[in-house]
Symmetry: C2
Subunit: 203 residues, 2 copies
DNA sequence: AAAAATCTGGTGCTTCCGACCCATGGAGGC
DNA sequence: GCCTCCATGGGTCGGAAGCACCAGATTTTT
């Protein structure tokens, strides 16, 4: 019997999955969490064999929670952002599995069994090649920490050089330099496109 | 017994919901669809009492499917975009119910019962007031057809005045005029912010 | 220890964008 | 008929953004 914990901010998905996974013979849902913080709290109370974590959650991202958690059960990251960039970030955050939300449920169950057995499970079902060429360029998507920070701000609507510089405590020129290298890496040419990409990549 | 059809592109949500709703005594899941087109096809085969439709789906948007369907069962729109603009569009597309994906499952069941009984059901649980003031401004979010068209392009990464003008077959000056009025209505000041808003609003 | 990458900042230049002014023709409401 | 809104287009102008190239300090990697 594999004991799992589910972290997703959408009640409909969470409650639905709880029910559906509970119907699988060798899987038992120990509990659920609706945010990264919530997940961390729950892991103090229960110790599941596997945790399923959504990337996009309020309060704290699923990936952020994984990064902060030491000595936690193997984690399977589930997201609607089917992008190699998010996959990279998930792996970097210590995930052993990566699945799209469009993955059929049996596949999730299989991933959980694999994770519980100490194996990895990366979903290769969805097609990453059609709209991801620029990002797939070797090393291209490797945004630095500062670049990600800036891009995240951009994705939340902070668009002017001035504001960005203020929030990051750096000069406007440095903002422009970071932006230029972001444009280069994401294969875009202005802030609007960069913001669209950033959101699409789930930042 | 209320017979429902579920349209959502995420297998995990769809299969989970199917299972969970099937466990509700007075609800029976007749079938599922994974896109707007799929939904239209399924409605040729079965005639549920209520349909649950996700907004964001590949191939064809849930709202587009609703607009094209004549003589269909009452529809409950479910989305992760908790915004009055999306709500407006859902109502305009003929939805009788509107729910966030963060809504608890019993509430979805209640909405389905209400819809089957010929009543409406608008979710008022989530907080629209904290980050939506500008858009809530009376009439402010009332983008015109052309403005929406332009904004959609912007949200897909078409950012330069030149490209926008080409794709819409209008002069660059008209593009700028439309943009200016979009900025006004969305309370933003440049394309990057407009793009972020557009995506957040689910365009 | 050496090399590479990152973060920080600079100059100069050109292009683009956003703000504000306006006008015309058509569709729809009163 | 009149008035408002919408879509289309024009012009100007200051400031912002993007581009190219450069460079020192620190960190990370090799």
């Amino acid at each position: 019997m594999i004991r799992v914990l589910i972290a997703d901010d959408h009640d409909l998905l969470r409650e639905g999955l709880e029910q559906a996974l509970g119907a699988v013979p060798d899987i038992q849902v120990l509990g659920t969490a609706s945010s990264g913080k919530d997940l961390m709290d729950r892991l103090e109370e229960v110790t599941p064999d596997v945790i399923m974590v959504d990337v996009d959650m309020p309060e704290m991202t699923g990936l952020d929670a994984l990064r902060q958690l030491k000595d936690r059960p193997p984690a399977i990251v589930v997201t609607m952002h089917e992008s190699p960039v998010v996959l990279d970030q998930a792996v970097e955050a210590g995930a052993v599995g990566f699945l799209s939300k469009s993955t059929p449920l049996p596949r999730l169950a299989a991933a959980m069994r694999a994770a519980a057995a100490g194996e990895g499970f990366i979903d290769a079902d969805y097609d990453l090649t059609d709209h991801m060429e620029p990002v797939l360029d070797p090393g291209a998507a490797a945004l630095t920490a500062r670049e990600r920070e800036l891009l995240s701000l951009l994705a939340t609507g902070v668009s002017s050089t001035h504001e960005l510089a203020d929030k990051l405590f750096i000069s406007q020129k440095t903002v422009k330099n970071h932006l230029a290298s972001i444009y280069d890496k994401l294969a875009v040419s202005d802030r609007a496109q960069a913001a669209v990409e950033a959101i699409r990549l789930g930042l």
